[in-house]
Symmetry: C2
Amino acid sequence: MTVEESVTGTVAFMLGKLGQAATGRFADRLAPFGLRPRHCAVLELLTAGPQAQLALARTIGVTPSVVVDMLDELEELGALRRVRDTVDRRRQLIELTPDGHGLRRTAVRLAGETDEELLGGLTAEEAALLRRALGRMASASGIPAPG
Amino acid sequence: MTVEESVTGTVAFMLGKLGQAATGRFADRLAPFGLRPRHCAVLELLTAGPQAQLALARTIGVTPSVVVDMLDELEELGALRRVRDTVDRRRQLIELTPDGHGLRRTAVRLAGETDEELLGGLTAEEAALLRRALGRMASASGIPAPG
DNA sequence: TATTGTTATACTCTATAACTATA
DNA sequence: TATAGTTATAGAGTATAACAATA
């Protein structure tokens, strides 16, 4: 059965509303550390090793100018360094500092707290199913989601 | 187990990213009809009968000035009428026109199509579980979600 | 005084296009 | 010519604050 009788009960609509709320709550927790939700994907990608900016943009799924902005902010926090690539001098390799690794661990903790808040009304089993279903949706819909 | 080792794998983060993508795809389908996702909650609430603007704002969970904007747009589409309340002349009762009812039915259909696209990679059982879990989250987290 | 609706304004997030420096 | 990064700008979307009309 694919026919719905309401819009607000569809996954598309609820996902939008809940996503907005979830991002807002996560942002509230990150703010005291100078971080914002969108920074987190960058921190996470860089733990694997240095990356060029355009590579980051493509993997995360945002436009290059947004990456410049995010990196400016994270650099100001001392979370990363831009290192000019000696082979191709157009490129800058972005590498995490020790502070950056620390901020990532903080972000992981705060994201976990946000999850507990959001999932409080669900059983552990439901929460696990939800987590898996969201992951499946992301990859099936071709939504960039590193990790 | 509540401790995560990644941010991008948390429900909070995935919900944000997926919500953004879901809203975008729904918006693409609505655009040819002059509608936007946020209009849908208004259309749906008004099918039950006329409502004052502040009542709409509170139920939907947006600030009053946003409601003014949405109603301006929907009025221009011929989807609704503002009728001054004779009892309390500060109030305007918003009522759906026949065209408004038609637009709502269209929105329901398009939301269903968006769901099929988003849930394509999931089994029917998983989709049902996801729908229920999202509904539970919305009410448990106190997120305004009419319907 | 308080409330309904409105306007003006600002802030966040994202995207596009034009620019620079390198290749 | 093409690519990596940057800047400038614009467009959604939302929120706050001040305002007019009415209670």
